[in-house]
Symmetry: C2
Subunit: 404 residues, 2 copies
């Protein structure tokens, strides 16, 4: 087997992993019950709390991919027969509903056209008409459509109806604000491999006290041993001495810790602004190419750009050309959007003007090969100009802030 090829990862994830983060994974392995490692666990949890801007004691890196965390969150928050509202505005909302169905929950689907944001009024109506619903689940940043949900409003409605709130923040955390405490989210999970730019395989999780209280009160034990957050807490929470639960993925945790350090050193605001600038640059470049995004303005994720495939373009060929001729990965559409959109991720270390320019040059080439009319160089130029405008606007807004 040859060494892995160099790729510019601008798809739906994993995102580009900075070398110091990858090298952190190569550090010497220690035992997971070693006193040094227990201190490391504490500092890692603290960094995760800072990343999630939360005071939740139960904040830890779940030792499996985000899809497993999604499933465990449902096992952790509901018993068979419990009623749950699942907002479905893309493939990951649909996955939440499918997992809930398998677990024997009574699922109330709130289907939203893929590419549009959830309508909070629909949630209000659903919860009013179905007062037995006690859990609301939704995807904050739909990786399949590039749409952001209005998490604060959805959570406020759920809370007013006395529901627990489960939020998928896989693609949002690190790229745009994720504020579980401020919004009132009871269980938030994310992924290591998106806007945090750590290797794939881990899922940062934060759980509210309210959710833990429910778990402590539940009638029967959690059907999933690995998803039982009370068991998990005895391993990750050192307050009363740690007890063995499973063997933590030690080297992967080194890398996650290194990635969180980079994120926190840059700062939430700066990282989010960088994602937004890169998005504006990409958008300007795409417009110069005559391409458009699927979601309407106002709900677009900076970190995940769903581009409508224009008539006459073979999107599979386009992706293949980008990969083979330029070493750039972008992603196909999922489910009902397969063949209809391309997904460009500007996540974590990928959210940089230089990467946007590399991609736009590659897109010009790949589109021209399919006979698309391209004015060579115009897309990167438009991107640079948009990026400059975004920088200027940031400076003005900071200056205005300083004046105020």
């Amino acid at each position: 087997m040859s060494r892995p090829p160099r790729r510019l990862l601008l798809g739906a994830g994993p995102s580009p992993i900075p070398e110091p983060v990858r090298l952190a994974a190569a550090q010497a392995t220690v035992g997971h019950l070693d006193p040094w490692f227990q201190d490391f666990m504490e500092s890692l949890k603290q960094r995760l709390r800072q990343t999630f801007v939360t005071r939740n004691r139960m904040t830890f890196p779940f030792s499996a991919p985000a899809s497993a965390a999604m499933e465990s969150a449902l096992f952790a928050l509901a018993d068979e027969g419990d009623e749950i509202a699942v907002i479905i505005h893309g493939a990951f909302g649909a996955r939440l509903a499918e997992m809930a169905r398998r677990q024997g929950l009574v699922v109330h689907r709130l289907d939203v056209p893929w590419g549009s944001p959830p309508d909070p009024q629909q949630l209000e109506d659903l919860l009013t008409s179905k007062p037995d619903i006690r859990l609301v689940a939704f995807v904050h940043a739909e990786t399949s459509t590039g749409v952001a949900a209005d998490a604060a409003t959805l959570a406020r409605i759920a809370e007013a109806h006395d529901c627990l709130v489960l939020m998928d923040a896989v693609t949002s955390l690190g790229g745009s604000p994720v504020l579980p405490d401020q919004w009132g989210i009871d269980f938030t999970y994310s992924g290591s491999q998106k806007c945090l730019s750590a290797p794939p395989g881990l899922a940062p999780v934060t759980v509210s006290e309210r959710a833990l209280e429910w778990m402590n009160r539940r009638r029967r034990s959690c059907r999933s041993w690995f998803g039982d957050m009370l068991e998990m807490a005895r391993y990750w929470d050192g307050q009363n001495g740690r007890s063995y639960h499973h063997t933590a993925p030690i080297n992967a945790l080194y890398a996650l810790d290194a990635a969180l350090r980079l994120f926190l050193t840059e700062g939430h605001e700066a990282a989010h602004a960088r994602h937004y600038r890169a998005h504006l640059a990409l958008l300007a470049g795409l417009e110069a190419l005559g391409l458009e995004l699927l979601p309407p303005p106002g709900c677009r994720l900076p970190q995940l750009n769903a581009v409508v495939v224009p008539a006459g373009i073979d999107e599979a060929q386009l992706r293949a050309d980008l990969l083979s001729r330029h070493g750039i990965e972008i992603s196909a559409g999922l489910g009902s959007l397969a063949g209809r959109i391309l997904r460009i991720g500007l996540m974590g270390d990928g959210a940089r003007l230089s990467h946007v320019l590399t991609l736009l040059v590659g897109l010009e080439d790949a589109l021209a090969r399919q006979g698309w009319t391209v004015t060579t160089g115009s897309a990167p130029q438009a991107a640079i100009a948009a990026h400059d405008r975004a920088r200027t606007a940031e400076h003005s807004s900071r200056a205005a802030g300083a004046d105020g």
Copy 2:
């Protein structure tokens, strides 16, 4: 946070990870749907098949720790209300039973005194008296007691009663023979961090065609989405084109692949012999120190040595001294054996005479500090002599084989 300290990992896992394996994890991340990565997946699966000595098509690295694989195996093999026999000869058998209980299976416990091997006749009697049992689960190498089960015999009995067989090979794979095809095991899972000496976090899994047939026939969908091996197969099995399931832990898989290469280059027989020699060396050293193993001869695992804590010795202090004065990790007992045994792992790269000698010197020091009578140097000497005898015996047996 400081860098991780250097430790000699001779506990219950993780085992020492060779530097090339750790460095493999630091290679450039590629997308999990990249053509290169799909080729990598195929070669990794092939290496796992060689490691498991199996022709099972469904052989893959489960993207989570072995405890999660254990739970998923149960979700995959049984529906609520199904009857299962769980052989419990230690903490991990007890964990299997607890997971089965949570999943709503009807659990028939076959309790064995911890430190003794399962008695096949008891399984025969149980299956004869309870003909509705359709799944038998057991731990091949009980990490909590250092006891090996007679997997071939147990599986033969289970098969004669038309039961599927689930085997935990977490601590056995790589350290002693694991032969799912020859023995007739339907679902075998292991862990990356024991005798394969890869970083913790992944669980090699192999599933028989018979088990897959049952999954295809089952009445209701698997309650766990992540544990649904038919869904998982669509991601890991490229026969009809791969479909997205979750994002594989790419960098961790690089490391697992590197570890499997080392194992396969050494060869099963040589690796198992190395574990056995190291065990004999340790055993001789322990005897020179006046210490003894918990399990009787004949069922002792070479890779996990459960040492009885002698009266008058504070085992926690002993472990603390080994760690702080010598940088050596060994493990405490679990559950009812806590405080009563120490667990010394000679797993993977840890199974070397040099490590045994380092440990014995450390043990002499730590025991002497507690007033234990030690003839300094006698334990390492005894270990060297035993190791030499084992080498000689191997050569004689190979020579005899060549003559025959």
